[in-house]
Symmetry: C2
Subunit: 388 residues, 2 copies
């Protein structure tokens, strides 16, 4: 076990494209793809294009996406003890059901190998790296193939979760056909990381040379909020109350709109009596990364999580929300290797220090709460102590 003095830092939002996945992207002629670009001096450079509306020729891509040594170097540079890595978007979303099924099975084995051959954290029983597996959740896929992938992931000892986007089988995550997937995920105890890719609001993005800002800063958090709201409205969280759903980017726009959501539900005859609880109750059943870049955002999210108890019944308390209670469902993340330093050789990445500084600065959090968000909550949620 780690010394009680040392604070463990666990990064639960950190991405990879394993070599098999990068090869797949290199073979493609349409988005998503990795293409080779000649810079003005004639030097060849690989570039990643993953968004349909992506300006220019995407972004540079290199060994930081697939080389485990680079991941460990990044972790060491930023004092990250353990990473729970996940394939970056768009996962297998663009493949046929057959291709997705085969690729999920192979990539899950690859990721298990990537994790199990990683070093042990000195003086502990923890590996430095664990992972989220992939499921073949694509239009036309048999639900049984998705459930089988959940079982495969559960059987691989270093995989402790599943990452998925919001398309489902083509009709979103609130598609009733997905109930067997939620059931399998709930029974497995695996964490289901819901991550954006498509964005919401694409018609707004191609304007006045704003680069990637609108899709990334707004479209992504809108997508996460929409997917989670649809899950709530469809009753998935009523039917599967022990599901461990982890929302990317601190839940996106959902926490700030959750009281408005509750009010709109209450005032809409089509929906008013459908759910077991006020919408705000369900936000206390979710988990959130702490990738929001500001202390005010994190403090607010911890209040939104904590206030959920008020809404368990119609006669809940109205005591101020205890930020320390809410912090227990929040977990440090970096979004590495995205958002590299604008100045290519910064010692520490600003996109990381923004989040570490934000956690340190949240008013009202005790040292234990900060330690929880940095790592202890992840140790518990992913059960990292149990099967290292």
């Amino acid at each position: 076990m780690a010394s009680a003095v040392h604070r463990l830092v666990v990064d639960i939002h950190t991405h990879v494209y394993l070599p098999r996945y990068a090869s797949l992207l290199r073979q493609r002629a349409t988005v998503p793809r990795i293409l080779t670009h000649q810079d003005p001096s004639g030097k060849a450079e690989e570039r990643l294009v993953i968004l349909n509306d992506e300006p220019a020729e995407g972004r540079p891509v290199g060994s930081q996406y697939w080389d485990r040594t680079e991941k460990l170097n990044f972790m060491n540079k930023h004092d990250i003890d353990i990473s729970v890595v996940s394939t970056a978007n768009p996962w297998l979303d663009f493949l046929s059901p057959n291709e997705a099924q085969g690729m999920a099975a192979e990539l899950n084995e690859d990721l298990e190998e990537y994790c199990m051959s990683a070093p042990i954290l000195p003086d502990t029983t923890f590996r430095r790296i664990y992972g989220f597996g992939l499921v073949p959740l694509v239009p036309g896929a048999p639900v049984s193939s998705v459930v089988n992938a959940v079982h495969q992931i559960h059987a691989l000892p270093h995989l402790r979760g599943i990452i998925l986007g919001t398309q489902g089988l083509g009709k979103g995550l609130d598609d009733p056909a997905l109930d067997p997937v939620w059931d399998a995920a709930e029974k497995s105890g695996l964490v289901v990381f819901i991550h954006p890719h498509y964005g919401v609001g694409g018609e707004q993005w191609v304007t006045h040379g704003n680069g990637h800002v609108l899709p990334l800063a707004l479209g992504f958090p809108f997508e996460t909020a929409t997917a989670a709201t649809r899950l709530i409205l469809s009753g998935v969280l009523d039917r599967f109350p022990f599901l461990r759903l982890l929302l990317a980017h601190s839940g996106g726009a959902l926490p700030a709109l959750s009281s408005r959501l509750a009010s709109c539900i209450m005032h809409d005859a089509q929906v008013a009596n459908r759910l077991k609880h006020d919408a705000r109750y369900y936000l206390g059943k979710l988990y959130y990364d702490a990738v929001a870049y500001g202390p005010e955002e994190l403090g607010f999210l911890s209040e939104v999580v904590a206030r959920a108890g008020r809404y368990e019944s119609a006669t809940g308390s109205t005591a101020p929300a205890d930020r320390n209670v809410g912090s227990q469902r929040m977990l440090f993340g970096t979004d590495n290797p995205f958002f590299p330093p604008a100045n290519g050789n910064a010692e520490r990445w600003r996109s990381v220090t923004e989040n570490t500084e934000a956690i340190e600065a949240v008013p009202g959090w005790t040292p234990d709460s900060r330690n929880g968000v940095f790592g202890a909550n992840a140790i518990s949620l992913f059960n990292l102590g149990g099967r290292a």
Copy 2:
């Protein structure tokens, strides 16, 4: 003047369809329109359909939308002293430039009459009702016609602001062609109320019988956030630093995404050096209604406004944001006559009491701050004392 003991309550988010506007909607065969619906018993009922994706036959509409006596009754029932009323969406957005120009001129005169003939608040020099005027901001409109409407509104003594949607001349509010409008608005001192109508994310709405919930709870705040973000990115707030922009629904999704926005800007070479300040700075230059339905949301917004000062320069303070400072840019609203009680004859509307209770419950606000949000901030922003 009001007694120092009595707290003035000013509702700055409250809508009307003046009789001339309702007549216009009744003449139309396409959305937006007012149609006459026969209920199963054969009774005729007027219904309002304003959203393209609106389920069924819209919502009931009646004298609460156009009768000033009903507005005053609503105010009296909820202890609202003064209302600053605005035409509800979609304003004049659907008219031709000529029609919009004529209708704006007439409706602004109508609204001035509606306000000036309202009673005086007892023992004060305030009218009970002031208003936001309309501008003919539609595709194809000459910008000069919009500027002329700003001048007309400024000359009408009871109109203290302008309400507008996000379409602009068809290319959004960040269209550089609109600079003369922002210039005229800034010089006039009129408050510009930016209100959603179209929603962002419409492809997500028609799912599983969720009624209006997704467009209203998410689509509207996504739209406001997107419009405000595009205004920031386009430099409008750098070019017109004294513009008084008021964002509906507490800024929608913008406050919670503003640190992510700042980070995305910083990491995007196309945008990184375009603005004078960190994106978070501009949120301290805006005004917000307090229509967020929860105390945690309001407290957070007041921190977001207050922290803006940190970002004026690269070496700003990192002191905790003072919620009382931030509260000074927040103003009570009801969104009346939308969100009527599900139980048609409730004594007080839940959609109002949710917001009044939220203001009362924000941790860290002093009594002066609460009084400010309920009314004193509006008295100052709209200069209500000056020309009653």
